[in-house]
């Protein structure tokens, strides 16, 4: 099937992927974003979006995402429909293949697959999905006009989605595990919810079972204080109990925590060279649109630097006809600074036969690390793209000169 090459390939067109696309394409990198659905990610499933700075009330999730999409496209990023099935990050070009078999090869990859609603695994939950059990208020609210629904969860998303539902339903009963008056949602959202006459509350309670013949008819609620069970009639059950990362296709390719969140550092670098992770799919403190977008920006800038460094190293060292002596130095190592003039002399005396490239080990830790170089000064000799000699702490000019001659002699 078709193979496409690009500089940066982004998996997922949620806020993280779209922000990354904007930054990457604006840096003149050829950028492709793959998404299996409509660009916009989870934000598409929520109406109320009032905490993205600069956009106060009135902005909806889908509207904000339309703007993200337009903005990314403005600088040339291409958004393509495709469900990523497999990845291979080992080579210099990372290979990403979709379910339909389209293959992409990219110099850097940013994974931003986000998360999806967590399910509870209650009896009846799976069977009655799309039959009254829902994880998306904007998708399904219309069915429940004038009907009674139950909402499971009590965080910000749960309460906000329940409030959205009250525009349609007769009543929305929140099943809350905490004592009366206590919610995980923030105070401003809580206070608004308590004033909403269509919201009802079942405190100290959990749902044990969803019942119905073909469509939802009731839920069984257990009071965790009294262990008393009651059956509550309901036409719909909306579940908002957090999310799980959509990272199955990345297992074994980048390091993750036990729950499947990708581990990335402050530069959004994963355990695989040239592969970055942004947004809800990574281990982080706050999963929101603004932090997803911030991750995307950082990942794109880090990827850009990576691409340029790799390109530079390839041109200056790996693709050279002549042998190359790479001097790994560091401004913080006085020994390495003192030794540089000797290194330059050795190269000058062998001009035309040996090239010299100086690399600041701290600015380019990845290249140094790949060749096992941890200290400055270290001299590394390359011939036809291969590391052939490595001299650590060569403080003696004549010793280094003889290694250089040996390398030149083949």
């Amino acid at each position: 099937m078709a193979v496409r090459e690009c500089d940066v390939l982004i998996i997922g067109a949620g806020p993280a992927g779209l922000a990354a696309a904007l930054y990457a394409s604006r840096a003149k990198l050829s950028t492709v974003v793959l998404d299996k659905g409509t660009p916009g990610g989870q934000v598409r499933t929520t109406w109320s979006m009032e905490n993205y700075p600069g956009f106060a009330r009135g902005m909806t999730g889908p509207e904000l995402m339309d703007r993200f999409v337009d903005h990314a496209k403005e600088f040339g990023a291409e958004i393509v429909r495709g469900d990523v099935a497999t990845v291979s990050f080992g080579g210099e070009l990372k290979i990403v293949t979709t379910q339909k078999g389209e293959e992409y090869r990219a110099r850097a990859v940013i994974v931003a697959p986000g998360a999806e609603p967590r399910t509870l695994g209650l009896p009846g939950e799976r069977e009655l999905r799309g039959k009254g059990v829902s994880y998306c208020a904007t998708c399904d609210a219309d069915f429940f006009e004038e009907l009674d629904v139950v909402v499971i969860g009590n965080g910000d998303a749960a309460v906000e989605e329940a409030m959205y539902l009250t525009k349609f339903v007769n009543s929305a009963t929140m099943i809350v595990v905490h004592d009366e008056g206590i919610l995980d949602a923030t105070a401003i959202i809580r206070d608004r919810a308590f004033k909403n006459p269509k919201m009802k509350w079942a405190w100290n309670s959990v749902v044990e079972e969803i019942r119905g013949d073909g469509i939802v008819e009731s839920v069984v609620i257990k009071n965790i204080k009294t262990n008393e069970r009651t059956e509550l009639e309901a036409n719909g059950v909306f579940v908002f109990v957090g999310t799980v990362p959509k990272t199955d296709f990345l297992k074994g390719h980048v390091d993750m925590d036990k729950r499947g969140y990708v581990i990335a550092n402050e530069l959004m670098e994963t355990s695989a060279d040239g592969v970055y992770c942004a947004g809800d799919a990574r281990v982080k403190y706050l999963r929101q649109v603004i932090t997803a977008a911030a991750d995307g920006a950082i990942a794109a800038v880090a990827a850009e630097k990576y691409i340029h460094e790799e390109e530079g190293f390839r041109e200056m060292v790996l693709d050279r006809e002549n042998p190359v002596m790479v001097a790994f130095w560091s401004p913080t190592s006085q020994v390495s600074l003192d030794f540089l003039p000797a290194v330059e002399r050795i190269a000058e005396q062998r001009a035309g036969k040996l090239n010299l490239v100086k690399i600041d080990i701290y600015k380019n830790q990845r290249v140094a690390g790949r060749y096992g170089i941890t200290e400055a000064p270290t001299m590394a000799f390359f011939r036809k793209g291969q590391l052939v000699e490595k001299v650590c702490w060569p403080t003696n000019e004549s010793e280094l000169a003889s290694v250089a001659d040996k390398v030149i002699g083949g």
Binding site: T38, S134, C139, I215, G236
Partner: protein
């Protein structure tokens, strides 16, 4: 694709021997909107094997609930007035729909 609604659902879907595929969707359901081009491509490909219909649930809420459809996207196949297969939510992927058509199509 044929647009069905509360007026013609009986005649176009239930009263015919089938098979008939019904795409329950709405303009407000983003995953449904995303699925539209894929279902249309399938309609091109399998138009002779199965009759393709779509139903906007916003205008046909009672009909949809009557068909036990309370979530979107839902793609169902009818034969002889009975629903014989159905995919909903995440299961309603292009690949799954195609497999369902192959199983129940003519």
């Amino acid at each position: 694709m044929l647009e069905v609604n509360k007026e013609n659902f009986e005649a176009e879907v239930l009263a015919v021997p089938g098979p008939v595929l019904v795409d329950f969707w709405s303009t407000k359901c983003e995953p449904c909107v995303a699925l539209v081009p894929e279902v249309e491509a399938l309609a091109e490909k399998y138009g002779d094997k199965i009759k393709f219909c779509k139903l906007n649930v916003l205008e046909n809420r009672r009909l949809s609930i009557g068909q036990k459809v309370l979530g979107l996207p839902t793609i169902a196949i009818y034969k002889g007035g009975e629903k014989v297969a159905e995919l909903t939510k995440d299961d309603a992927t292009c690949a799954n729909i195609e497999a369902m058509i192959k199983e129940h199509g003519r």
